[in-house]
């Protein structure tokens, strides 16, 4: 069943891709092939392979229960927040929080995970910024 949904999604993706390709405005100076041909070929093969996937599906993969999916969703949200707030709060604080969250969700005790988070963050900061000289996001506190 998963594969049928996946195949249907692939077909929609192919259609969308073809539509988006046709929206490309061609310049008056174009080579023989033009900017549309290659993406159109891709869309066709994408559609064909999606159709095959939908018509001849494999066995269902083992999907995690809803609670695990929520877990992954939450991790994604944390990562997005991390990406958004990184330039604002600075590398060390953002990384410590994000790493602490992930360690906690992977089964470390809360207090210990805070410690692990701080260690990870400071460790990366020392190695990558102070030793290797990589420029990391600088927050209002200067680190």
């Amino acid at each position: 069943m998963s594969d049928r949904i996946f195949g249907a999604f692939g077909l929609l993706l192919a259609l969308f891709y073809a539509w988006a390709t046709l929206q490309i405005e061609e310049s008056f100076l174009s080579d023989e092939v033009g900017p549309k041909t290659f993406p159109l070929v891709i869309a066709v093969i994408l559609g064909l392979s999606s159709a095959v996937i939908a018509l001849r599906p494999d066995e269902n993969p083992v999907w995690p229960p809803l609670s695990r999916l929520a877990e992954i969703g939450a991790a994604v949200v944390v990562m997005i927040l991390y990406a958004e707030f990184l330039p604002e709060v600075g590398f060390v604080i953002a990384t410590a929080l994000a790493a602490a969250y992930l360690t906690w969700r992977l089964g470390t005790r809360p207090l210990q995970s805070l410690l692990v988070g701080v260690c990870t963050s400071v460790g990366i900061y020392v190695i990558f910024h102070l030793v290797l000289g990589l420029s990391l996001a600088r927050g209002p506190l200067g680190f």
Binding site: S2, G10, Y17, A20, T21, I24, E26, S27, L29, S30, D31, E32, V33, P35, T37, F38, P39, I42, A43, I45, L46, L48, S49, S50, V52, I53, R56, D58, P61, P64, R68, E71, I72, A75, V76, M79, I80, Y82, A83, E84, L86, F91, A98, A99, L102, T103, R105, L106, G107, T108, G117, T120, S121, I124, F128, L132, G133, L134, L136, A137
Partner: protein
């Protein structure tokens, strides 16, 4: 001896303190990454690419660092296979079969050192193979025009899925997804933006490094979150390591096996789409058929340890041949290395040997050096690496995620790229659940633009005649191989893959 003098020059380049230091670092990190279940050569290299860039290393030093990681990971995979019975990465899964029984019998030290020697033999012979075969392939590749290149890329995509997926439709889907992503951005020939939907960040196209780190490294973190196996599997089982050196008698006993499987593994590595996993698999199967008269394979036969290790390390070297000489990688990890070259503005292929001989020969010399270092590191220091296995994934995986973020942010300094990386991470997780191979996606994003340019150049040269694509005997030949290579696995691939599956744990890992 033209080759020998070039190799000598290569050693002059590789033997600087900086390069030697990078090789030591790469070998060490690589072995650790290979040893840790969940991290393999491709995600190991992927995590370190941004680092190599942001350090501002030149082309040769970065390649030395990353290929040392690559070879190191190939060595390291065996450690957890033998000690824990869990392959550290996919190519090492065959080593479990005989290595783990040996460890249970109290011969873990012997198994580790023997497999270290076997890895060395495999990688050493394969590097010689690379030296002699690559220049020949280059001469051949100089005959290629745009039409032939287009056919060659098609061949690479058609065959890449071959062994790594049971479902050819899914590997075709993955390849098209990758090519489709490569199209995004301003068209290089006419200057019109394509599929950018007005988003300025997309005008330069998607950075393939972002895609690689997201697909390979971040998706691994999601896999761990899904199963929440945060505990190291090493805790409960304490295994006596025993003596750390193999006896001469055992080495002698295994030598024919190592030599045969090195050759076989090398050939498997050179062929497109096979890679190290297949190399170790067919090496083991062949040896079992050939020398296992008493049925001792699978119960702790030392030859059963030597065979897959020599095979997979030889395949790792073999996979570099098409990558360097044609610009078409033979496996997942070499695809990642190709990304490194492209990002350094070096186009692999026949011209690489003419324009940047320092890069090629420096790299080859570095492979020899890395190999010797790995042998030295892996026999006496194996105890250190086994201790690394005790780090539980619940601490390790967040570090992997954070290092990925740091690396990507270090390159571009933009939150947008981080968001794109997260999207690739989630997408990679879903695709892995659906058994869609990730390597064709990477290869598509890497080669998409070159492939399209070759198509357009070929057709433009012939004034819009598309028949030019199948005009020369060479391109007809390439297309034939591509079609056969795509169709054949539909019948044969299931068989091989089914057997490989049957023999390994359900432990998920990106293919090498």
């Amino acid at each position: 001896m033209d080759i020998m003098s070039s190799l000598g020059d290569g050693f002059l380049i590789a033997l600087t303190w900086q390069n030697l230091g990078l090789a030591v670092l790469g070998c060490f990190l690589g072995t650790i990454m290979g040893a840790l279940p969940g991290l393999g050569p491709s995600n190991g290299v992927a995590i370190l690419i941004p680092l190599a860039f942001t350090l501002g290393l030149g082309a040769t030093p970065s390649l030395i660092l990353l290929t040392s990681v690559y070879y190191g990971a190939m060595y390291g995979g065996r450690i957890s296979s033998i000690l824990l019975g869990i392959p550290g990465d996919e190519p090492a899964m065959m080593t479990v079969l005989d290595g783990h029984p040996m460890a249970k019998a109290g011969r873990a030290g012997e198994a580790l050192s023997l497999s270290g020697v076997a890895s060395f033999v495999g990688a050493f012979l394969a590097t010689w193979g690379l030296i002699f075969l690559a220049p020949q392939l280059v001469k051949f590749a100089l005959l290629f025009g745009p039409a032939e290149y287009f056919a060659l890329f098609a061949l690479a995509f058609a065959t890449l899925g071959g062994v790594s997926s049971t479902n050819q439709a899914k590997s075709a889907f993955a390849a098209m997804l990758g090519l489709g992503l490569a199209v995004v951005g301003v068209d290089t020939q006419t200057g019109v933006p394509r599929l950018t939907f007005g988003e300025v960040h997309l005008y330069d196209g998607l950075d393939f490094l972002v895609a690689i780190v997201g697909l390979f490294a971040l998706s691994e973190v999601f896999i761990f979150l899904e199963h929440r196996h945060g505990e190291a599997d090493a805790d409960s089982k304490k295994i006596e390591v025993g003596r750390l050196t193999p006896s001469w008698a055992m080495l002698k006993y295994c030598t024919p096996t190592m030599l045969r499987t090195s050759v076989l593994g090398f050939v498997a590595g050179v062929l497109p789409g096979a890679g190290a996993s297949l190399g170790s698999f067919i090496s083991y199967s062949m040896e079992k058929k050939l020398v296992d008269k008493k049925g001792t394979f699978g119960t702790g036969d030392p030859r059963g340890v030597a065979a897959p290790e020599a095979g997979n390390n030889a395949a790792a070297g073999g996979a570099l041949v098409p990558m360097l000489s044609l610009g078409v990688p033979g496996s997942g990890t070499t695809a990642v290395l190709l990304a490194v070259l492209l990002a350094l503005n070096i186009t692999p292929g026949p011209l690489l040997f003419q324009n940047n001989p320092d890069v090629v020969w420096g790299l080859i010399a570095a492979l020899f050096i890395a190999n010797i270092m790995l042998l030295l590191m892996n026999i006496p220091m194996v105890g250190l690496f086994t201790r690394v296995l005790m780090i539980p994934p619940r601490i390790l995986m967040p570090i992997v995620a954070m290092v990925s973020f740091v690396g990507i942010y270090g390159i571009s300094g933009s939150s947008f790229d981080l968001l794109v990386m997260i999207a690739f991470g989630v997408g990679g997780w879903v695709l892995r659940k659906l058994d869609v191979p990730l390597v064709p996606i990477i290869l598509g994003t890497l080669l998409g633009n070159t492939m399209e340019n070759n198509l357009r150049r070929a057709v433009t040269i012939s004034n819009g005649d598309y028949m030019t694509l199948i005009d020369s005997p060479l391109s007809i030949g390439l297309w034939t191989v591509a079609i056969v290579g795509f169709i054949l696995p539909i019948f044969v691939g299931k068989l091989v893959k089914g057997r490989m599956r049957a023999r390994r744990d359900a432990e998920g890992s990106t293919s090498d």
